[in-house]
């Protein structure tokens, strides 16, 4: 483990920063994923309804 990493770990703000970044980006990805695939599934359903009633 490098010295810079050790000094970061002594600082809880560095850990909090990484956690906060992960929550913001990962949360956005999960929301985007859910919305995107919801509309894709709805689109396929509409196509199937048009094709087969």
């Amino acid at each position: 483990m490098t010295e810079s990493k050790k000094s970061e770990e002594e600082n809880p703000r560095g850990l909090k920063d990484d956690e906060l970044a992960a929550v913001v980006v990962a949360g956005s990805i999960v929301v985007f994923f859910a919305v995107y695939w919801f509309f894709e599934i709805m689109s396929v359903r509409e196509l199937l309804e048009m094709a087969y009633g």
Partner: protein, 197 residues
Amino acid sequence: MNSATTRQSPIGPYPRAAIATGLLVLLLAFSFSGMRAEVWTALLPFFEWMETTWFGYVGKTWGGAFATIQAGHLVSLGVLGGAVLFSDGRLLGLYSSLPLRDVIDGSHQVFKWALAVVVFTGVFMVCGVAVKVYYLPVFWYKMLTLTVGILFAFYVRKPLVDRDLSGVSPLVIKLTAIASIMVWFTVAATGRWIGFS
């Protein structure tokens, strides 16, 4: 006190979170503004040029070469997906008998090489069908998710999992692992979708 612990970033106490949030806001602003259409229009000559490159000629005229490179692309994408599932599965608590640090570090090495092959073979394939994919919305979704996936993997996930995970919130670790699986699943799915468009 160590000078590193007292150093303050010019963008606030949480620079990584601030930069990540700023990038997300910029991405949203770009997606919902007229700038997106302007950039898209400006990129057409670049895509037309790609088809005139050596890669473009080979991809268009020699089907065997395209198929071979595509096989490499798919295999490396499979390896990348395996590395993601292995590492994130371990973060989610699966196969807990395996040492966490070894799984994460080993998977990241495989992930890096697989990503390099995915990108290189992907560029070759795009050159062969550049103008076709230029008009496919799903191609741009793939580029978006690929960019987000790479930034997420190296700028957000890697610094977090490099830490002693006993000090990190389990909820954050699990959210990160789920988001990682989702983003690479979307990269793979939109990639295959291009082939059926």
